[in-house]
Amino acid sequence: MSEQTTSVENPPKRGASLKAAEARTRLISYLFCLPAISLMIIILLVPIFIAGVLSFTDYSLGNTDFNWQGTKNYERIFGRSSYQKMLWASATYVLVVVPASIGLGLGAALLINSLRRFGDFYKAIYFLPVMAALLAMAIVWDFALHPTIGIVNKTLASGCGTLVEGFFSWGWIPGVNGAESWYSTSCADEFPHWLGEKKYAIWTICFIGIWQAVGFNMVLYLAGLTGVPRELYHAAAIDGVRSGWERFRLVTWPMLGPTTVFVVTITAIRSFQVFDTVEALTEGGPAKSTYVMMYAIFEKAIRENLVGFGSAITIVFLGFVLVITLSQRYLVERRVHY
């Protein structure tokens, strides 16, 4: 740079120009970071602070004034039965979707990985739901699950009175009364309103969540599997590990530890944020059985303008997400291999 030539001609100035260069670099660095820093503060950090403050008030948009409520909003979340239902709905969704989608994703990855050919074909198909707008697919599922004209119930009903009913009523298992089975009673009466009955709605929403998440988890596991050294399998074989299950339990699963920690975290955080399917299909009902947290925030704070209360749900929500992420960081730092 030009400073170097001048410094040779004029030694005493050298320190000064170096300092000037440093100052310049510093200035440029701050300039480069400035947009990012200000946006991080305005869009990510200030809102948390706002939500934190408002969660202790009864503020509504449009009001100039508000009253301090103390911890009343939080007491409502944990004390009132309709909000306990909200916590339950979110917990159920996360606790069902996370293990199911991870189990199925891992299963699919192991199967695909062990195939001699067509692996890429299955991979592409299983990944399709990840690419498709969840809202659009939720609406399609709504049609497919329609109680009378939906393809799911039509298909189930077409199995009535045939061998299919014979099989799925489990009557061929000794000691089981086929006529009392779910399938046979449904045939005699009607097949469920998957999204309209309290008994089924949350499970149907969970099912759609699993349907969407499996491909994503599968791909992460496939990536994890490429990192398992082949020598380990040979070594295990030499040590007398014969069955596929033993090989999985002793080699594959422990080696996938870091992948699993990551997959659990990301699936849990995404599941906590479920919104599209609930908004489009059940609106939290029936009887609040699908009233998940994101939908509660949307309904209470944005539709009904109970901003203070919505802020309290937001803070509780952030608390859950933080706990999940921090436990992931902790596990990763300990470099889990279980």
């Binding site: 440029i28 660095s29 809102p47 939500a51 199925l104 062990s114 949307f298 997400v321």
Partner: protein, 298 residues
């Protein structure tokens, strides 16, 4: 695992995977099939995959007072035609493209210089900035939608492109990702550029940006897929002004007051919204899987 299974085991694996694939495909099949069938075929579940395509009567056309003979339509054209006629779907699609691209471009403009400074420049406070990035990585933007919405509402910005774009202009993940990528670029390259008399500013855009193209491609896919498909955020900040509807909002509005006759057009709309990304994915599978699972690189 070792790929030494018997033909029997191989067949069993295929059987399991095919059953799974059928369940995964089911809604796509329903969507595509219904988008081509007449209302009657949908209600009675007849006509196979593409329907008989027998001409049907358009009731709306008759209501407008046209003679019946002018109102016969082929179902597939009726469905896709109504998708575009009954709602300004083209406008929604253009909104979607505009918002998605703006978000991506601004994210890069903000993230790249910051990532460069964090990886290649030495300055007082660098560790503090990086720590801030790590903390912000913990915050899902959807979770703080409410306070952001309040801020936008106070500024009178709801129902605007700004409301759709601003909250996503900062991608902390993008900064993190680019920084990790820049760490692998040798310092010699940058020193050489400096000796050639390039300013730091042009180093970012003329040296670092071209180097980062592979990582940027993956990030682009990650960002575009997320925001094209996003429904929650537009639902929150666009409260009724159809001029700013994104494709998912348009579809949702369509289903709102729909009766049985509109299944076909609704499914046609869904197909139109979902197809671009699916086709792009099928054409460049590896790139897409890389991009979507990017967050796995942490």
């Amino acid at each position: 695992m070792l790929g030494n299974s018997s033909p029997m085991a191989e067949a069993l694996k295929h059987a399991v995977l095919i059953v799974g694939a059928l369940i995964v495909i089911l809604p796509f099949y329903v969507m595509l099939s219904y988008s081509m069938k007449s209302p009657n075929e949908i209600l009675t579940n007849t006509g196979g995959f593409i329907g008989s395509q027998e001409k049907m009567v358009d009731d709306y056309c008759i209501k407008l007072g046209n003679p019946k003979k002018d109102c016969y339509r082929t179902p597939v054209f009726f469905n896709y035609g109504s998708a575009f006629e009954k709602a300004p779907l083209v406008r929604y699609l253009l909104n979607g493209v505009f918002v998605t691209l703006s978000i991506f471009i601004i994210q890069v403009l903000v993230a790249l210089p910051c990532a460069y400074a964090l990886s290649k420049l030495r300055f007082w406070g660098r560790d503090v900035v990086f720590a801030m990035v790590l903390v912000c990585l913990l915050i899902p933007v959807h979770a703080i939608a409410l306070p952001i919405y309040l801020m936008l509402a106070k500024l009178g910005l709801t129902n605007s492109y700004a409301a759709l774009i601003i909250p996503w202009t900062i991608s902390v993940f993008g900064i993190f990702l680019m920084r990790q990528f820049f760490m692998t670029i040798p310092d010699d390259l940058i020193d050489a550029a400096r000796i050639d008399g390039m300013s730091e500013f042009s180093i970012v855009w003329k040296v670092m940006l071209p180097c980062a193209v592979p990582a940027l491609m993956a990030f682009a896919i990650f960002s575009v897929v997320a925001h094209w498909n996003d429904y929650f955020w537009p639902r929150v900040v666009i409260t009724g002004d159809r001029n700013y509807f994104t494709p998912p909002l348009g579809l949702r509005e369509f289903t709102g007051g729909a009766d049985g006759d509109f299944y076909g057009p609704i499914m046609a709309t869904a197909t139109i919204i979902v197809t671009p990304l699916i086709v792009a994915f099928l054409l460049a599978q590896r790139k897409f899987i890389e991009g979507i699972t990017l967050s796995g690189m942490k």
